[in-house]
Amino acid sequence: MNARGGGLGVLLVVALVMAGLVLPRWLVFLLALALAKGVAVLSVVVLMRAGLVSFGQGLFFASAAYAAGFAMRWWGVREALLLVPWSVAVAVGLGALAGLLVARYRDIFFAMLTLALSMVLYGVLIKAYGVTGGSDGIRIPTPTLLGLQLSGDDARLLVYYLAVAATAAAAWAVGRYAAAPAGYLAHAVRDNEVRVAYLGAPVSRIVYAAFLLSSGLAGLGGALTALNVGHVDPGLAYWTTSGELVFIAVLGGTGTVLGPLAGAVVYELIRSYAFKYAPYAWQMLVGAAMLLIILFLPGGLWSPVERVWRRQQA
């Protein structure tokens, strides 16, 4: 993962802002959903940089989404600029606790532990009907932005712009992390833990820090999804949600910050069209698309762009 593409990132933000004005509403909604998921995919990529694959990002994705739902239901908070930081804080808090346990594990043990923790949350969300609404979930009313109360398409557009801003901020933060010593040390842990320790850096704290960043990103993705969809349910914590994030990470490519975001947009488009034209076989079509990517672009969808960058640099 590297931080190149700052200029391209600014262009993309401008394009996304323009897209909100010209694209049909359903596509704007889909883009907002894709961006929210893209941020959560970044959380997977941050861990992959440290050599860890999490199959339990749904834990943070769902906890943040529910945190927004509870804040609205219990305290009547409707302000998006309060709901998003609050939800991310809940996810990071949970990450701080879970990280104490999982940051000591690697490989399949890490993957299974994260999966197990997310499924514990899923179980709680399903069973605690009185609080969580069980499998029905919780409805999320339309949020306000800086007190601005909008409805219908305008409200959706507002949530879309919030998603664009939050995604840009997340991409910038991850890019900065990737280019900084902290990001390189995580990469170094993936390559050779023993050497990291013999350079005088604490491996467990490096992994823990990556885990905290990752839980915050997954939480941000979850909060944006909740505000965009207007409903949260236990499926957000289910293992297929976490698996989908890993799937998109591989689809988009894990070498850059923009790859996972592009992967999320392409994934949502493929999924929507596959669902529309083959409602009983959409998973098969998504799987086929994945196979094609693996066969022809093993580095992910973004890898041709990376190659061009590298050639320019050389």
């Binding site: 010593p181 390559d191 050497r195 350079l199 005088g200 490096i206």
Partner: protein, 249 residues
Amino acid sequence: MKTPILEVEDLTLHFGSITAAERETVIVYPGELVGIVGPNGAGKTTFLNLITGYLRPERGTIRFWGQDVVGLSPHQITALGVGRSFQIPQLFLTLTVRENVLVALATREGRWASVRRPLHEPARVQAADEVLLQFGLLAQADRPAGELPEGGRKLLDVAMAFALRPRLLLMDEPTSGVSAREKFQVMDTLVQALREAGITALFVEHDMDVVRRYATRVLVLSNGRILADGAPTEVLEDPEIRLAVTGRR
């Protein structure tokens, strides 16, 4: 009298019935270049693993500049100023040669968790390139470390430990895997760099010619015990010692 940089006393460790270290006592003074020799399985690498906290002794004390380091982890001991290089080079193979050194430098600065500035800060890159120049690796700076030949990997492994500016450097067979022709060249580079930086060093070595030529003192280990400790010219001339180390008189 000078203050010892390293004091090892009564160091003992067993792996089941195998004696890895038995009452090892060594005092190293600043400026020394100590060669550690002995047959395979003598406990040479174990000795380095004990000093650097990778293994914990059953008994004994290890003091670095007077501070007891038994029970500290490798990263804590490294942070105190004990560097280490490895028999099999321990590199970050998917990072470039320069990035390997940059990571070491950032860690030395205590900035391993920093996100405020990029790793490739101009001043740090310059410092990394100086280290690479010293070790003859500057031409390879932008290559992934995984593409280096064995001799280059060995040098980079030491260069990373060296970049930490340790006060004590422990090197595990710095010339193993290096061709006979390159051996002295590699050692010349290393020893010159150590002298210029005023670093005290211990190095495990199988090649007696290398030990004779570079070590100011030699430790002979066998079955976890220290058989001899003294000037290379005296110790390595002893037929009993030669027999223990090389199997020949």
